[in-house]
Symmetry: C5
Subunit: 304 residues, 5 copies
């Protein structure tokens, strides 16, 4: 998530210079064609770039709107994970009652570990979405749990199963009753739902045809535009067409930079920051002594 309001020029240039060069080259070639083959034969009517502009306007709006919807839905999903994580911790800490067999510090340890295992779930999910291999989640799991999930391909799903096993044993041992079970198991179902929604956004490629044709139509538009204004402004058509082409490519690039919101890029959803926020909240709730610091922005420019 970009947090600065002054976007660094280097970031803009690095994302668009290739396209801009290509646009400038296309416009120059179009002008060359105009000069040698067209100028004495006919004049390109301006209705052609105008109509192509209509088609482009649709593509611009469509791509950006859908990209923003994906980005905002991704943010909402992780917002629900924040809320449900707190509800999970709150209920895990306060609902189970001491029994003859389990009480005092034993009970406290059980509760604390159910909270820590949830932090492990979040780290495992984050690493899966980001495609990293830090295995940070391991530090919140005890060895016996690590052994159980060792061979699972989907670590975060496996951790949820461990939580359900725990919950069932609490119910069997009388730490929680049926009503409390409903509340706690409901949260696990919600975690599973939001986890799946994240994977859906990550794994569904935005229809590539829209991206492909936007580029194609900008290219076509640029040629038509150069030919249409050349009779009035001569060689300056190259400059004007390049500027206009740059504008359209930039709008396209802005939308493209948020269409895959879980990628580890500055414009993506700040999963590191959100996960850390939940981690701090939950560790405070179980009165842990060593609380990690919040994630700092990079160069005061963005947070990951």
């Amino acid at each position: 998530m970009i947090i600065t309001h002054d976007i660094r020029l280097s970031r803009i240039v690095s994302g668009t210079w290739k396209n801009t060069l290509l646009v400038a080259f296309t416009c120059s070639m179009s002008y060359f064609v105009y000069w040698y083959f067209i100028q004495y034969h006919f004049e390109m009517p301006s209705i052609i770039p105008t109509i192509l502009g209509t088609a482009l306007a649709f593509f611009i709006g469509f791509n950006n709107n859908q990209a923003y919807d994906r980005w905002w839905e991704a943010r909402k999903i992780w917002g629900v994970l924040v809320n449900s994580s707190r509800t999970w911790a709150r209920n895990v800490i306060h609902l189970p009652s001491a029994t003859d067999k389990i009480s005092g510090s034993n009970l406290e340890l059980m509760k604390e570990y159910a909270v820590k295992r949830h932090i492990a779930f979040l780290y495992a999910l984050k690493e899966n979405l980001r495609g990293t291999k830090d295995e940070e989640y391991k530090k919140y799991l005890i060895q016996s749990d690590l052994d159980i999930i060792k061979n699972e391909s989907n670590k975060h799903n496996a951790i949820l199963s461990l939580q359900t096993t725990e919950l069932k044993s609490w119910k069997r041992d009388g730490l929680i009753d049926g009503f409390e079970f409903l509340e706690l198991n409901g949260e696990i179902t919600r975690f599973c739902d939001e986890m799946g929604k994240s994977e859906r956004i990550k794994n569904t490629v935005f229809p590539t045809t829209y991206n492909y044709y936007t580029k194609g139509f900008i290219w076509l538009f640029n040629i038509a535009f150069t030919l249409a204004v050349a009779p009035n402004v001569g060689w300056r058509a190259i400059i004007f067409a390049t500027v206009i082409g740059y504008v359209f490519h930039t709008i396209h690039f802005i939308g493209h930079s948020i269409v895959d919101p879980f990628e580890p890029i500055p414009t993506g959803i700040p999963l590191d920051q959100i996960t850390r926020t939940i981690e701090i909240n939950l560790l405070e709730m179980i009165r842990e002594e060593h609380i990690p610091a919040p994630v700092s922005p990079v160069n005061d420019e963005y947070v990951m």
Copy 2:
């Protein structure tokens, strides 16, 4: 779901060449009319193609937006099926408790079959939506279940009934209590809902009038456009009008290719891939030994 960012030229051409030829023919005829009947009498004002372009812009936006909404809703429905399938398996595996009569490997077998029967449900639903007759679902059902659903016209619905029967018998036998019953039966209701939503999208024809008139207005636009630019550019009007017509037909074609997202086409929802993903997840959860491989993309171009 198309996964390549370089769309193959053959795919584009194969989808649009008929229309493009028709467009070229229409434009040529229009130019012919212009040449013999119009040029010495009057000049077509450019406001006519411009106004028709406004009408087309609405149709372009409307058709594509609604098509994308259908496609994305279809993807969401199968995302919910992924999530609920995991929740079903997790709860089926961990909630039932051993009783005097049913315990040990008997209990394990019962749980495993409840998971496998769910995979059969997904395959039956997929085949119904895709209109295929592979009957892959049969390999996950035992003979007695196959006999029961033999005469049902709606196999996937019949399998859900089998699951409810199973659940009721678990409750009667004391394997699960009322609260656990609520959680498990709730998931069956969700399967039934998402199944019905899939059928709704499959069975509801997108209002054909929108498709029909879009084509008609592009055709009208093409004629008006050819006549309007012919006085300036002569016979080249045919070329320009064909290019512009191609652009509009292509945009229309893109939207049309995702409006029926459950069809077995490269641009549809990858039901094969999603079903296999759930299958792998669920078989891992019941510690099955032979896990099938994920679905591979075709030509690195798309997944079904």
Copy 3:
């Protein structure tokens, strides 16, 4: 729901010919005014029809988008009725347990009738939405129930009350416990909700001002357009203006044909077909012998 992709010319003409004649007349009158009063005094600037076109573009988009939303919401509501009907039947058939007093074929008959009474509910609701008086629902009700609802103005609501009475008696007699009651009563609440949503769409008139002004502005646009192109194209302005007017009226007509989706019209929601589909599903689930045939399309053109 129109299912053919080749819309019959007669359908199009029958819906728009009156408007088209009126448009042609208006354009002719405008040309007459141009010829006798305007041509030697001033020239209508083309910015006037262009700006009016902007206003119309908004109306076109707005009316069609909202009409489609009503149509699609109506379809979703009946999709939920499909899903919940299956869930109702599945739970009604499998959840109640035999007791000392009620068991065997008595129990089966009770269950079957609870399913049939639900089919009666759907028929009663459909007839209310369509405004027909076939009273088809009566064939699924026994005489004592018919007597109870005889004087009710809202038959479908009265049938839901009968279902709740039934459910309560099952609970009192121990056929179902509290948890099963929750599941079954929850479905009745859902039926009541979707029934009310259908009535909301049926009874809420889409703000008539939008319809009224769209027609008015098309008329104004047509006059301005005729006057603006007449200096260039002479009497042909009448033809061009009529074509453009036809285009706008047609778009308006398309939206208008789906704004009241429960009307018994070819473009509406196919309530006959959906009700029959549920009927078949439910009768199969209770192993009824005589299953009615699905609803056939009319002329291969549409289903009601």
Copy 4:
């Protein structure tokens, strides 16, 4: 809710004539300025009204879309109130069982009053939203209840509290068990939610800046338009500009007339009609003898 398709001219004129006069005056002044100060110095380029038209098109769409969303959400909220009211009555009538202490006509009276108190809730809410002081709700409340809520500033909220008290006493006295309590209390929570949603729409002023600037930009547009067409059409610019200005003001006025849907205006939500419909439904359900007549339209033009 306006129900007629032929909107009365007087309604249109009465809503817009002030603005139209102001527009005509502005256009006349602009023409005066053109005549004395501009015509021999320069010509206003038509790109200026065109660009301002783009800005206006956005405002037109935005205001109308958001106004319609508020109107439709208001209608949906009262649709939910219809549905939940029927569910409340159905459950209140059929769920409570006779006990040793409370049975027969005592029980019937208790149930009937729980339904009537709900009608009182709806009337109290309606009066609050409409800002009327009829206190119609009082006729459905007994004196002891009236005494309790006498000093409350929020009558409808206070009536909901009475319903919860009643429900709790039913539960304590064994008329309903925990499951039935869940169902009935769930409906009260829904009433509270929809009541709050109604108040949210009523109390949230649509951002006044949008309204303010729309008017301002129409005014600016009118001046630019008059100056731009005057060189071609002379004094007739005043007429054309006034017509165009009327069109834009009318569109703005249409949206404005539904932005506050609970106001007692013909274009608002017909709360009188909806409340009466629920009243009739509920009184029929408790077999009341004297059922009031439905609300009639005013002049066959609108229902309140």
Copy 5:
């Protein structure tokens, strides 16, 4: 929330004068460039500002639509908090039953404090969203609770934990049963959800690229516009371009003023007013004697 329909000129000027001056300067410089370098060489074709206007129209719509969505979602969240707060109070007051140990005024005090602690939660949340440090919430908490949350970084979350502790003790002591626990704990989960949604909107920076490029493209548009109209209108191009630039900057400014709806600004969500409304409602429900007055508008212009 601005409540006046006559926006004060000072408010408008104070928000836009810097930009307007900058626009005027840019336009003057452009005219200078036109005069010395361009006028005898070529004429800027008007298609260039027109096409840039298309790009701007997209940005205008996109920024304003998303900003309004954030603002309206924020309002909805606090609407849910209003509704759930009333439901919390209603259930807290009426559901707990007296037991042998806790009854009479003890019970009343417990209930009242559970309501007051909820008011403290709302004040703590409001202060966090607004970034103020008034610590008004403290006046509704007893000392022992203040001690517990002293070191928590997230006060409002800590208060919710206190509520769950209270609820659990009520359940253990038999004041409420499992069903009542479900209802009450469900509301706490809802508070946690809405609290998290508020934080999501507050903490998620609207993609800064959209803001940044809108400004950039308005600047580019202004230059192109000045150069394009200068040949026709001479030095007056500066005036016209400044007016048009002002219009676009103003639209941008309007959207920008509601994109962060929880900021303590006049255009934000009136958290002070909403919190006070809930406070009054809840204190009335527990029959408190001293009820604070509603929040008054500032200058009859806006409420905070």
